[in-house]
């Protein structure tokens, strides 16, 4: 039987849904599960880690670990993997996961795969499936090592209801800080906003919105829907949206129930970040815009006219 160690995805003190999704998948594969949580002030999260479905919780809780630093973070994971005898180490998609996974793999002499969408276990043989070339193809990859470190693509696995684990906490000692890559400061992006990765609905704005007034208009639609508010790269480059709002290949990969692309052309790098959404609505004044090739519902029109009507109609529906 395989042992799966899931790296807890904790953002701003909250355990993200991907942790339960990965643990569910591990259980569905018949694996023993453990979770490793790294950070500062984690005591209150232990119940959540158990409820997410883990049977052992490795906890590295230290003020030194408050800010992410890939070296120490990877050391904690390697420590947990060794203690647990992990065959598979899984990260939910996060920038910290993408930074740490290759280090962990190198240290464990494991294979490494990012953006995986499926895992197949057949005795000792591990195989994974993942998209490549901006989602234009899928690859089935044979793993030749006993161990695999993988970053799982957002939305790939679903959390089963009513799986809980058992509490069995193992404290890890905090590694020394990386003196050659010292984290000096974190310029945090507006907190309190809905995290794109968790949002059930995401509304994204593109260059079609032109300027701040256009961005604000689309943002109101997002607020009405309590949606995550994302962006194409064009609006990040234009300075209208924060870097962490970019949806796409170099930004966030999202898979919400409903994705609204407002004034976005649909470049493949953008599509690579949102084409896993359940339903896509596009608003674009160009009937030939490539976004319409992936949209379930397309409105050909000027967003400055369409968005206010959208807001109005959605309000009516809600009342």
């Amino acid at each position: 039987m395989a042992n799966v160690l899931v790296v807890a995805d904790i953002k701003q003190g909250v355990l993200k849904g991907s942790t339960a999704e990965l643990l569910s998948k591990a259980k569905a594969l018949g694996a023993e599960t453990a979770v490793v949580a790294i950070g500062s002030g984690l005591e209150s999260l232990i119940a959540d880690l158990v409820n997410a479905g883990s049977d052992t919780q490795y906890i590295a809780d230290d003020s030194k670990l408050e800010l992410f630093s890939a070296g120490p973070y990877a050391s904690c994971i390697v420590d947990a993997a060794n203690q647990f005898g992990a065959d598979l180490v899984w990260f939910g998609f996060s920038e910290s996961g993408k930074a740490a996974a290759p280090r962990v793999a190198a240290q464990l002499d494991a294979a490494c795969a990012t953006e995986i969408t499926d895992v197949m276990l057949d005795g000792d043989q591990i195989e994974i499936v993942r998209p490549a070339i901006a989602n234009k193809v899928m690859q089935r990859v044979k793993i030749n090592t006993k161990h695999l470190v993988a970053v799982v693509r957002a939305g790939a696995f679903e959390a089963a209801e009513a799986i809980t684990g058992t509490e069995n906490v193992v404290q890890l000692s905090a590694p020394e800080p990386d003196l050659k890559a010292v984290i000096k400061e974190l310029l945090s992006d507006a907190s309190g906003e809905i995290d794109l990765a968790d949002a059930d609905v995401v509304v994204s704005v593109g260059r079609g919105a032109k300027d701040q007034a256009g961005v604000d208009l689309v943002k109101e639609l997002a607020s009405d829907l309590k949606a995550g508010f994302g962006s194409s790269r064009a609006m990040v480059d234009g300075g209208f949206m924060a870097h962490n709002k970019q949806v796409g290949q170099t930004g966030k990969i999202v898979a919400p129930t409903l994705y609204m692309a407002i004034g976005i052309s649909g470049a493949i790098q953008h599509l690579a970040g949102m084409s896993g959404s359940q339903v896509i609505l596009a608003v674009n004044k160009d009937p030939e815009a490539p976004i319409f090739n992936v949209a379930d519902y397309g409105i050909v029109g000027d967003l400055f006219e369409v968005v206010p009507i959208l807001r109005e109609e959605i309000k009516k529906l809600r009342n």
């Binding site: 290759p102 195989e127 901006a134 234009k136 990040v236 359940q278 009507i309 959208l310 109609e313």
Partner: protein
């Protein structure tokens, strides 16, 4: 400061990519420099221009197209080029590439290695980070800005989960850069002409002082078993006409048909 920039030849992602019998159909494909590696080259060239850095690029790969991307790097302003061309490496995985890059690094003496955030053909984003592990060097990935403090220190900004992380990096080090760090320059005609005359140092694994076996080629950690078509979405319903009318219809469809509102 001596800089080593890695560049990879990748398939042009804007083209249609067909899959047949578990493999990508080669016909009609074109190859270009990996987009994020263009950002890496631009970083190196700016460090040359502003901080007197000495710049070298390395690419593992063969053929006309690989020569072309190296020349493009020259035309953008890189001074030296190394090409590791060995047929044995055609289907290597990231660990093998990282092991080869390790040999290249050890043959020279570099203060900073700059790789792209990820290769457009693999979409892995791991080779630079594995290389740093192999070399025992500090590494910062997903870098969006660099600020030189002195010969031995850089402040780099990385886009992390909670915001922008500012990291003080002691050289030698490895960084991987993302596209928002700069706008890669377009090579000028004159640059392209001069680039044609520049010599590329071409080596196979033996010339690099290693072998396919030593870089892990015979024992790959992973192997692509097959390529498959990706599940492509199909175009749904598209509405044109009076904005009020079509928008009202679409909202009703989102609520009643798709049941997502």
């Amino acid at each position: 400061m001596k800089i080593l920039t890695t560049i990879k030849k990748v398939v042009d992602v804007e083209l249609t990519i067909r899959v047949e019998n578990g493999a990508i159909v080669e016909e009609g494909l074109q190859y270009v420099m990996n987009a994020w590696d263009e950002n890496a080259v631009e970083v190196a060239v700016q460090l040359k221009e502003n901080n007197q850095a000495e710049t070298t690029l390395v690419s593992i790969g063969g053929g006309e197209d690989n020569t072309k991307i190296i020349r493009r790097g020259f035309a953008m302003g890189i001074e030296n080029g190394i090409q590791i061309d060995d047929p044995a490496l055609a289907a290597a995985d990231s660990f093998v590439y990282a092991n080869v890059l390790q040999k290249v690094y050890e043959k020279g003496s570099y203060d900073l290695v700059i790789t792209g955030k990820q290769a457009q053909d693999t979409d892995h984003g791991q080779t630079g980070i594995i290389l740093a592990e192999r070399l025992g060097l500090p590494c910062v990935s997903n870098v969006i800005a660099i600020d030189v403090i002195d010969d031995q220190h850089l402040n780099v900004s990385r886009l992390g989960d909670a915001g922008t992380e500012i990291v003080e990096l002691t050289l030698p080090a490895v960084i991987t850069v993302t596209d928002s760090i700069n706008e890669p320059r377009l090579p000028q005609m004159r640059g392209l002409m001069m680039a044609k005359k520049k010599k590329i140092e071409v080596m196979d694994l033996a010339a690099l002082g290693t072998s396919y076996d030593e870089v892990g080629g015979t024992t790959p950690k992973s192997q692509i078993a097959e390529f498959m078509k990706s599940e492509t979405r199909t175009a749904g319903q598209k509405f044109e006409g009076d904005p009020a009318e079509i928008t009202t219809r679409v909202v009703a469809l989102l609520a009643n048909e798709a049941k997502v509102l």
